[in-house]
Symmetry: C2
Subunit: 199 residues, 2 copies
DNA sequence: CCAGAATTAGGACAAATGTCCTACAGCGCG
DNA sequence: CGCGCTGTAGGACATTTGTCCTAATTCTGG
């Protein structure tokens, strides 16, 4: 077994457990067990828990970049791209209702721990923020593109938190529709923006 | 020293630490040290960590009830009462940027731990939800009062998450203004609703 | 002032934690 | 073959965790 494959598997398992249970609540033993490794072997690949966290965050950054690029490829209009973002709430609704948003909950936890990696985690938000701002700028909203991006990010985070607390699927669908309606009001002049309006 | 005072002090310290560091990351020893008690004395008052959590949540429920009643007393119009809710984002902005919303982050953590008390924590949200819904109903929105309440709760949670991640005070003020503007559009017929419009 | 209850201090305890070490298995290369 | 390197296993280590016990102290009613 190559070292890089084992390493990748550790990161994958840690990524999942950090999301499902949280960073603090996940132990070395948990990751080793789920990955089918001894704790000693584990140490060969990662010296500290913070090293794993850094690898997990790094992996999420890459995955996020790939997703954003895919959305940009598969949607022609900026409005449709923004809708792709909004729709992850529906695509991932089951996992969100169980464990919240992977980015938001990690940032919250690292902020409370005052962990050194909290800024790195927040950079995951920045990826979405900058990408969304670019889409809004393309819609002619250069002046307030960043504010609009933050607003949409804010909404999706709020939906994730309440969806977790109340486990209410209908609420998610309702708020996603509301976000799409809001999107319409923000870029009314764009002809392409009505191509995929409803849920 | 009476037992009830000591008990109350334990709950106060635990409440603060659960908020600032999180439930899992706070140990018996942490609470005992900050409260100036021995771990043995601690055990006299609370047998398990879950008992403290239950007491902390119970205390927060009472404090929340008191706050909601105070808002109802001090504001004559439902619109002003709702604005009182929106403004906690500004009042508590420093603590929110450091540790997030006390309710949202606790619900998220307990959901991840699949803790037995997660529904009790979510009941804190329900207090705000029902109270807000009553205000919207008084504004003549009986039909969708609960949806409007959830929407506002969603926004405040989203603001809290992003404010923590980015530590952006201006963002909070901007979104609070936006919420107030939204409020105006939701109850345009009410004359009292313009009595305290801006931040 | 004193018996008994209420409250506190100071550990004991096993289990789990993050970290680290040593020994061994499998492999390619001389 | 045998040397050395990479990867793995298994456990040692001190510390901390939640939980629990016992002995001392403080308080209170008679």
């Amino acid at each position: 077994m190559g070292a890089s494959e084992t390493r990748q598997q550790i990161v994958d398992v840690a990524d999942r457990l950090f999301y499902e249970r949280g960073f603090e609540a996940t132990s070395f033993a948990d990751i080793a067990r789920d990955a089918g490794l001894s704790r000693g072997n584990f140490y060969y690949h990662f010296k500290t828990k913070d090293e794993i966290l850094a690898a997990v965050i790094g992996g999420r950054v890459e995955k996020t970049r790939a997703i954003l690029e895919a959305w940009a490829r598969n949607a022609d209009s900026p409005a449709d791209r923004i809708r792709s973002f909004v729709h992850i709430l529906i695509t991932n609704r089951t996992r969100i209702m169980a464990h919240g948003c992977p980015v938001g909950t990690l940032c919250n936890e690292l902020a409370k721990l005052d962990h050194a990696a909290k800024e790195d985690a927040a950079r995951l938000f920045s990826l979405f923020r900058d990408w969304l701002a670019r889409q809004f700028a393309m819609l002619g909203r250069e002046a307030d593109a960043d504010a609009l991006a933050l607003h949409l990010l804010m909404r999706s985070q709020g939906v994730a938190v309440l969806a977790t607390a109340f486990r209410d699927e209908a609420f998610i669908y309702r708020e996603v529709s509301d976000m799409e309606a809001w999107l319409q009001t923000q870029c009314p002049a764009t002809s392409l923006s009505r191509s995929r309006q409803s849920v």
